[in-house]
Amino acid sequence: MTGKRRDSGLVKAMPLLLPAYAWLTLAIFLPLSAMVYFSLLTSMSPSGQSATLTLGNYATFFSDPLYATLLVRSLELGLIVTLVCVLIGFPAAYVLAKIFKGRAREAIFLLVILPFWSNSLVRVFSWSMVLREGGILDTALNAILPFKVTFDLMYSYPAVIIGLVHSYLPYMVLTCYLSLQAIDDALIEAARSLGASRFTTLRRVIAPLALPGVLAGSALIFIPVVGSFMEPRILGGHGGTLYGTVIEDQFTAVYNWPLGAALSFILLAVVLVILLVSAPVLRKAA
């Protein structure tokens, strides 16, 4: 009985599901399969010379330690940016969800999602104006401080972190906001009435209940940051050479698409392994 009903439900749901799945198939699986194919070619030349299939591109990753070093650097960057986003985003989301109400909440929300409204390239370039020597931050600091400071963060690792945090912080604020907002205020009051300080309430009640939001935000940030190339290239200069910029080089500068594709799949595999390994741990924590 129930099985039959579920079947007919699925049939009825098909018109609703089909557009999304058709789009996903076209937009993700086709290009992805094409990239799998590219990554196995010896070369791709516009002249149409015949290329043969090989695993050599994948072997390149292991033969040159530079790639592994860059991958570790990128994973490190992903961790740092995610951590900074948690530290900045969670308190902001808490204030938005639990302290501000009505108009004030809407206004602050607008500020949080404002980065989404501007073009990402414009955003990154505007940071370069702020961070460089003689830039907005440098001038402002020297105007306030009585002594002379030279402030030049441009083309440095911190600049990359600042730019990436700016780009990805809204994800953390939004996911944390959603899980914090779902926590009944009475739970917080109950903990307080039982003698818990604000900090104990945060640690024992709020944080465990908000953990799914923090994790969702972390996944949304960590994965793209590990593969990021625009912020490292523009804000990081020479120090900004990372795994993502190397992949980009293969596609846009060196025109070695097979190697670029192979490096991308290695990144994908590493990220998937990290998610799979951490899943049981996180599930236990949640």
């Binding site: 009475a186 009051e189 903990a191 307080r192 039982l194 003698g195 009640v205």
Partner: protein, 352 residues
């Protein structure tokens, strides 16, 4: 366990006076109900005693200690919330243990106290369950165990039974009363349900528009309401208004009734209340032979199991009478009746 004393407490939200110069004392070990319609300030008063809100003026003392500026976690109170507010990420036992752990208790003492509290609410068998695996009544018991396990000085309950269905609510009222007696903690119970307030508490405070309009034992308030609001909010009442002179009350429709003995000296505009169950009816062959306090004609009647409610038209004024259904036959609609009551059952209300 302690005496709670609220003195001249006021709290204003914006322009709305939520609590307006309230003074009330809750004696040690007593079971108090704060009763009032929504917006009467009863919950705000409770939240000020708890420490979630702080009064603009006035003082709150628990066990003689002024607490109006003490935060909630330092007041040593226990609170049960309307939706129970059990921590969904913890088991039943962990919920109950929370308040003890926060105080630094651990090991065998902690385990024993949690087990004792769960036994008290008869939920020892469900200690390992999660809140979402419990029924409404069971959650209610866990919330109660969690609130009393820390041995609070005062137990505060914010409409704790309103989410339960009627049969379960009656059971829980009895249960709550038993547990309160066993623990002996001063208990303050907020409700908008007058029957609940009457059946469960030792004393009732009635609130309206942020003020206490009457405070006393349930029987006292029911039998001697101090205002028309108290008379009609707590149970049903016939309100008789008119002009008093020489110990009689001339109603607005021209009929007159005797006032109680103490009403001999009043004069001018005046109101009295009488409970429907104190109005006795007897059917008359015809209107001419009528005696009693008032005469009228049965206009409507309804049955609710063991009781019959009659609405009698007395010269345009409708008076309700509730009678126990005995063996006798019911009085038909349209039949002339006489209404009798004991003069002492008539409650004189102050001029509005």
């Amino acid at each position: 366990m302690a005496r709670v004393e609220v003195q001249n407490v006021s709290l204003t939200f914006g322009v709305h006076k939520a609590v307006d110069d309230v003074s009330i004392a809750f004696e040690d070990g007593g079971f108090y109900a704060l009763l009032g319609p929504s917006g009467s300030g009863k919950t705000t008063l409770l939240r000020m005693i708890a420490g979630f809100e702080f009064p603009d003026t006035g003082s709150i003392r628990i066990d003689g200690e002024a607490v109006e500026n003490v935060p909630v976690n330092k007041r040593r109170i226990g609170m049960v919330f309307q939706n129970y507010a059990l921590f969904p990420n913890m088991s039943v036992a962990d919920n109950v243990a929370f308040g003890l752990e926060v105080r630094g208790e651990k090991g065998e003492t902690l385990r024993r106290e949690v087990a004792d509290a769960l036994d008290l609410v008869q939920l020892g068998a469900l200690a390992k369950r999660r809140p979402h695996q419990l029924s409404g009544g069971q959650r209610q018991r866990v919330a109660l165990a969690r609130a009393i396990v820390t041995k609070p000085r005062v137990l505060l309950l914010d409409e704790p039974l309103s989410a339960l269905d009627k049969a379960l609510r009656t059971d829980m009222q009895v249960e709550l009363k038993r547990i309160q007696r066993e623990v002996g903690v001063t208990t303050i119970f907020v409700t908008h349900d007058q029957e609940e307030a009457l059946s469960i508490s030792d004393r009732i405070g009635i609130l309206k528009d942020g003020r206490i309009v009457q405070e006393g034992a349930p029987e006292e308030i029911y039998d001697r309401p101090a205002s028309e609001f108290a008379a009609t909010f707590l149970g049903e009442a016939n309100i008789l208004s008119g002009t008093a002179e020489n110990g009689r009350l001339r109603l607005d429709n021209g009929l007159a009734i005797d006032l109680p003995p103490e009403g001999g000296t009043v004069a001018g505009d005046f109101r009295c209340a009488i409970r429907p169950e104190r109005v006795h009816l007897s059917a008359l062959p015809d209107a001419a032979t009528a005696g009693g306090q008032l005469q009228g004609v049965v206009k409507r009647r309804s049955f609710s199991g063991s009781l019959s409610t009659y609405v009698v038209d007395c010269g345009g004024k409708e008076i309700k009478s509730v009678v126990q259904r005995g063996g006798g036959t019911a009085i038909e609609i349209g039949r002339p009746v006489e209404l009798r009551w004991n003069r002492d059952d008539l409650v004189m209300l102050p001029a509005a």
